[in-house]
Symmetry: C2
Subunit: 383 residues, 2 copies
């Protein structure tokens, strides 16, 4: 299903030889229209990969006919040659599919600082183009995996129209955005302004609130393409809700597949004076290595939660803070609360509630524990 | 040597039974004058332990006659009862040593959220007082250890006067300050204003630039006590230099003993537009879990350095950034530089230079790698 669940799209995923292990590494997503409306959200890292710099320019036109994605190399920190390679990739796609290069978005993921093997990538574009199919969504989702253990897709079907998509990401997950590539498609008949508004609203409360390890990527890209082939124009709220649902689902799949994780942690901040306060506190908790280690050890160490809250600028009084872990209020009024022995930490899902007792706003950040497996995976990952 | 290297001080370290394993856990440092001038710097965490709240009040008077320190419990997030316990500890010290409680600073370190065993601690004060000695500095340094594998002391001896001190800290090391207790003593005849100025200048470029794991403690305290017993009043610059040297030495000892670390990493940011920029970039690099894992794996992964720089607000152009690892400029002008195979990563010391090419300012942050041992130690540490 994936990016081809919505009508008007074809996709393909192949092994072009970019990855030395022979796994799939090149994907195409083609919008056959009648519309080619599109919106995009990109990493806020100031060191941006060549494909991000290129695709930002493409999206300024509000039209995307094709997305070409590769794993096996991020094409980041690769200088002018890297940008030329991205440009050449878009031109190759345009030539093979007889479209304009300025409507071809490019996404890359993999190791930073290495040039892509263009002698493999460009012929791969031809091979992928020959395999484009209205059933190719899953193969495309598989081809963009890096350290992902599973491919990620999601679909919401409404009355006469559909939003679907695929995502890759398993580490370097942090807001602004998480390290990931996401392509969403819809056959709803909406223009690029509506796509942009719905996409930004959705990513702000989904991908932007997934924080695996606090490390922000150079390549994050989330694209939303509309073909209009359903002929249906949904109301904005209904459309935005569908986009948010797909983003939320994919975001959850990303965090569940985070590198080395053994626990999925939902950090819910409640009774904050503002949503910004709630997000700041949630992020601080989600990024606290000591807490993440404690959760790994099934230790409901609420002191580390308070210590993390204390580093923020959010409105709160230390002696009014409350913390619940898996439903047990282990910290009340800034001190010892219910018996921590009551906390059952045996399951993969962990739910931390931080009550700031300072207002009525709330936000939820998703993270995972810090494990020896994370260290092992990221000590060895340079190939 | 430690806190009793300077004349006019006595110290003791004993096992009071606060730690269940019977290790030393209570220390006293006494200033016998003639002066009792003092200065202090405390954690900037807004969730402050009871002893920090107490000692901040004590230091407002600029006079400290005695410091009582315990390991085995942080007395943080312990509510009104925790503060009462700190107060009772100061009163007990005052009574036993016939001094005013308002000149007794209190420091605690250990697990957050647990009340101290006052039935052990208060009798321990009497035992420690009976063992006070002008040679007790080392025992005091040993008694404040938590997960430290070694005790940390440092001494600088000048013409007729001395600055010495002790430190504890092995995890939760982050600026503002690192998680640590530090007591410095001097027999120089200087008043509390001079002590305060010299101490703040020193911590700003030493302890504040040690960042083991980005986690800021609730208990950090650095105290500097002057007895004046040398009768010598050094010039400010010379005195400040001596204080900075001792702080720098102790800070280095802290980072070398960081929990689970296998590499000591010096992150030097050069050619920044401002010192603040240099510090912000240095911290961002030092806190990047992916980079810290790569260093652990002896992988000179400069892409992760650039990715970390990109998350800051410092002045720089991505295509002018340069990065050297152990002397090899692996990244030049934002892209591939010298052959990364030339980088020798076999030794414990790792030196990263990030050249922002944006000015003339510099700063150095000290950190360590992220290891499976760190995860193991902090998954199990709740007792």
């Amino acid at each position: 299903m994936s990016v081809t669940a919505a009508k008007g799209f074809r996709a393909a995923g192949i092994a072009a030889g970019i990855k030395e292990n022979g796994n799939p590494d090149l994907a195409l997503v083609v919008n056959d229209g009648p519309r080619r409306a599109a919106a995009g959200v990109f990493t806020s890292n100031r060191v941006k990969a060549a494909p991000v710099l290129w695709s930002e320019q493409v999206l300024k036109g509000g039209q995307v006919s094709t997305v070409v994605l590769n794993s096996g190399g991020a094409n980041a920190c690769t200088g002018p040659k890297g940008f030329q390679d991205t440009h050449a990739t878009a031109e190759k796609v345009a030539e093979v599919l007889d479209r304009g290069a300025i409507e071809v978005a490019v996404c890359s993921t993999g190791l930073i600082g290495v040039l892509l093997p263009m002698d493999k990538l460009l012929p791969g574009v031809e091979t992928a183009a020959a395999q484009l199919s209205a059933h190719g969504g899953e193969k495309a989702a598989i081809a963009i995996k890096t350290t992902d253990t599973v491919h990620k897709t999601s679909v919401v079907t409404k009355e006469g129209w559909t939003v679907g998509g695929m995502a890759k990401g398993a580490g370097m997950l942090a807001p602004g955005l998480a390290t990931m590539l996401v392509v969403l498609t819809t056959d709803a008949a909406v223009d690029s302004d509506v796509l942009d508004k719905a996409l930004r609203a959705a990513t702000k409360v989904t991908f932007d609130r997934v924080d695996s390890d606090g490390c922000m990527s150079t390549n994050d890209t989330v694209l939303l393409l509309a073909s209009g082939s359903s002929g249906t124009t949904p109301g904005y709220e209904e459309f935005a809700e569908a986009v948010r649902t797909v983003c939320d689902d994919l975001g959850q799949q990303l965090i569940r597949d985070a590198e080395g994780a053994s626990k999925d942690i939902k950090v819910e901040v409640v009774n904050a004076a503002s949503e910004d306060d709630a997000v700041e506190v949630g992020r601080s908790i989600a990024r606290n290595n000591l807490l993440k280690c404690a959760i790994h050890g099934e230790d409901p160490n609420w002191g580390r939660v308070l210590s993390a809250i204390g580093t923020t600028s959010a409105a709160f009084e230390p002696d009014r803070l409350n913390v619940a872990i898996n439903g047990v209020w282990v910290c009340k009024n800034g001190g010892v609360g219910e018996d921590r022995e009551k906390v059952d930490m045996r399951y993969r899902e962990v739910h931390i509630v931080a009550d700031l007792a300072a207002g009525a706003e709330t936000a939820t950040i998703w993270t995972n524990d810090l494990t020896a497996d994370y260290v092992h995976e990221n000590s060895a990952y340079s190939s």
